[in-house]
């Protein structure tokens, strides 16, 4: 398996392309693409890829990009796209439709701040805005994880027990534009990992079915319940896909949550994306100094891994949830779901929210230390704490 020094975007473009190519022995691949900083390199990559049985359609908007991918997917082809920030907001209507149509589309999203103010740097608010639309969501921290998770996403999405679209996310620039050593799997191995897509509800040109017409409340309700049932199967099916991935590629794509030092931890940090990379280094350093601190990296956000999260925090009495996103009027989105996961199970854990890295701010080891100091010192949980606001406030005065 060749190792190349490439960006996160390149890794994503490669994964989407070889996954698409792997369906050449079935109904092929097609996708709509549209550029937006910082994901443009992904769609440029797939536009250049010499698909044996595929077509990349450069369209006029994100709304149409996923619409083309939906048309291809409804026809039984493999389909994907990529987007970011305001592009995702513009796509939202059709994004939702892809989920409710149970189309196994894979999208790579580069997490970027939703403007205004104009800002191209990392913030998870864009994909989290789309959290309730029947898509699985994975947050990755480095290029290899982006590549591996994107490949795994197709296997998971297309599994007959799931049949839901998957969103693979990475932080703008910190991952998307940073070059690191990345192992690129061979096409032959990808072909083994991704069987020919067989979509049970695909359209046939010679069958008079109507897809997406009116359904009465009791039928619509049942279809929503089927989505819920599929979501509940994700943790088990993910493990199967993960094992198969490890067998074929010789590398573990990682669990849906990843624990570091949590077995004996009093204090646990819950973080996602590149914040987890930084937090892990801080935790490593401070554990070496004898502190009982742990890290839970939430890789999967939808479905929310509540059982695994509670297990990981078993020994903890204090939990810091880091959110690079802000739901206006409520707080951090990872925090809300973390609190909900503990509700009714444990009431002896102090769960405190830290809003950090919003609008592309840096989450440095010093910020993590500051968070841990606050978490240790506080008597009870309070409102979300906004980190690193002093300098911005000064300018605004």
């Amino acid at each position: 398996m060749p190792v190349q020094v490439i960006t996160g975007n390149h890794a994503a473009g490669y994964a989407l392309s070889v996954a698409g190519e792997a369906n050449r022995t079935a109904r092929g691949v097609a996708c709509g693409i549209y550029p937006i900083t910082p994901q443009t390199e992904i769609v440029e990559y797939v536009a250049k890829f010499p698909f044996s049985k595929g077509r990349v359609v450069p369209v006029e908007s994100e709304h149409s990009a996923i619409a083309v991918s939906m048309g291809a997917s409804m026809s039984g082809a493999r389909a994907f796209t990529a987007s970011s920030a305001n592009g995702l907001a513009y796509m939202a209507e059709n994004f939702m439709v892809a989920g409710y149509y149970r189309l196994p589309i894979v999208m790579v999203a580069v997490n970027r701040t939703l403007g205004p103010p104009w800002n191209i740097w990392a913030d998870q608010g864009d994909t989290l805005m789309l959290r309730d639309f029947a898509w699985l969501q994975f947050y990755c921290e480095d290029n290899q994880e982006v590549l591996d998770t994107t490949l795994l996403a197709f296997r998971l999405a297309e599994d007959q027990r799931i049949l839901l679209p998957v969103l693979t996310c990475m932080d703008a620039f910190i991952v998307s534009h940073t070059q690191t050593e990345t192992a690129l799997p061979e096409q032959t191995d990808v072909d083994r990992f991704l069987p020919d897509l067989d979509l049970p509800h695909r359209m046939h040109y010679d069958e008079a079915r109507t897809l997406g017409g009116l359904a009465w409340p009791h039928e619509g309700l049942s279809m929503r319940l089927e989505i819920d049932e599929a979501m509940k199967r994700v943790p088990d099916v993910y493990q199967e896909c993960r094992e198969s991935f490890t067998d074929i590629f010789g590398r573990d794509p990682g669990d849906v949550i990843q624990r570091f030092g949590t077995d004996d931890a009093d204090l646990v940090i819950v973080a996602s994306g590149t914040m987890a990379t930084t937090a892990r280094e801080v935790v490593r350093r401070r554990r070496e100094a004898g502190e009982k601190i742990g890290l839970v990296k939430l890789k999967m956000f939808r479905p929310f891994p509540d059982v695994a999260l509670r297990e990981a925090c078993q020994s903890a009495t204090r939990v810091a949830v880091l959110d690079r996103n802000y739901a206006a009027g409520a707080g951090g989105i990872f925090w809300q779901d973390t609190r909900a996961a503990f509700q009714g199970h444990r009431d002896d854990v102090l769960i405190q929210n830290y809003l950090t890295g919003l609008c592309g701010g840096d989450v440095t080891p010093a910020v993590i230390d500051e968070i841990l100091a606050d978490l240790t010192a506080r008597a009870e949980a309070g409102d979300p704490v906004w980190m690193g606001i002093e300098t911005g406030r000064e300018t605004l005065q």
């Binding site: 359209m203 008079a208 017409g213």
Partner: protein, 308 residues
């Protein structure tokens, strides 16, 4: 956990054969005098005559309400519902996979004027610019009929709608010129009052590849506040007076007028619809517009004749 958890209704689904002859099945709940329904019937017949098949791609509009409620459908062919602005983009994906797999049949977008002139125009323009291998038929009832009759940019000047209660001020958008400007292989207008011409144009569209755009003048008795029995007569008058000329544009470059207006006064067309209030219609301006429209088309057809 079982090997597969796909709902049973997806695992052993019975085959439902297509029937182009019966593209719009009996038992649908469409309004009496609905031009769209007649258009669907004529489209199905033309497809059957040509031995061709189709997949319909329909955005939000009366056309998708026509399908009726799950698990039944009024359509005798495969039909996909899309969001309001997306039919031509979804159709691009469907047609792409059809072509990659060398499968037969047409991919036909069937959209109202709201989804064509307004919310879906950017999507349609992009599909036309890419010369996607699809047929796009706009049934133009000059109103947002599905939501109860609001103005669209296809609503003619003077027409009262629920959002232009004193009559629309602006003229109807010239969508044919917009589509012709994309230099697509084929663009043509259709009228249910001229079934032979309708069938000929479907036949031409079926034997052409790339983007084909057809504009159907589609009476809507509910929105036009007209007698359902008048529908065919109204669109016949529209053709005869030059309000809605029947013509074709090949490659955006050459023109052919299919039915010459017979000099009928458009006044009759307005009088027979209660969406037009007599005092709000400038009949002389309407007559002038008809004459200008035909003059321009004649000039184009003379200067750039379609050699067909």
């Amino acid at each position: 956990m079982t090997a597969t958890a796909v709902p049973g209704r997806l695992q052993n689904r019975p085959t439902i054969p297509c029937s182009e002859e019966c593209l719009l099945r009996p038992g649908n709940t469409n309004c009496g005098g609905c031009g769209m329904s007649v258009g669907l019937t004529m489209l199905g017949r033309a497809l059957a005559d040509a031995g061709d098949t189709c997949t319909l791609v329909i955005p939000a509009c009366c056309g998708i309400v026509t399908a009726g409620a799950f698990p039944t459908t009024s359509y005798g062919v495969p039909t996909i519902a899309t969001t309001f602005a997306s039919s031509s983009a979804v159709a691009s994906g469907v047609a792409t996979i059809r072509d990659l797999n060398a499968e037969p049949g047409q991919v036909i977008c069937w959209a109202g004027d709201g989804g064509t002139y307004d919310i879906g125009l950017a999507t349609l323009s992009a599909a036309a610019e890419r010369n996607e291998n699809i047929i796009y038929i706009c049934y133009d009832n000059e109103i947002y009929g599905n939501t109860g009759g609001q103005r669209s940019s296809a609503t003619p000047a003077g027409a009262r709608t629920s959002t232009t209660p004193r009559g629309k001020i602006e003229d109807k958008k010239d969508i044919m010129s917009i589509m012709a400007a994309h230099r697509i292989p084929y663009a043509a207008t259709l009228s249910i009052a001229h079934p032979d011409d309708f069938a000929n144009k479907i036949s031409t569209a079926l034997s052409t590849t790339g983007m084909r755009f057809l504009l159907l003048h589609s009476p809507c008795p509910t929105g036009w506040k007209s007698d359902p029995g008048d529908s065919v007569e109204l669109v016949r008058l529209a053709v005869a007076s030059g309000l809605f000329p029947l013509y074709e544009v090949y490659d955006g470059a050459s023109y052919k007028i299919n039915v010459e207006p017979d000099g009928s006064d458009p006044a009759e067309y307005f009088h027979r619809q209660r969406r037009f209030e007599d005092e709000e219609i400038d009949l002389n301006a309407a007559r002038r517009a008809c004459s200008d429209r035909m003059q321009r088309l004649h000039a184009l057809a003379k200067q750039y004749p379609a050699d067909r």
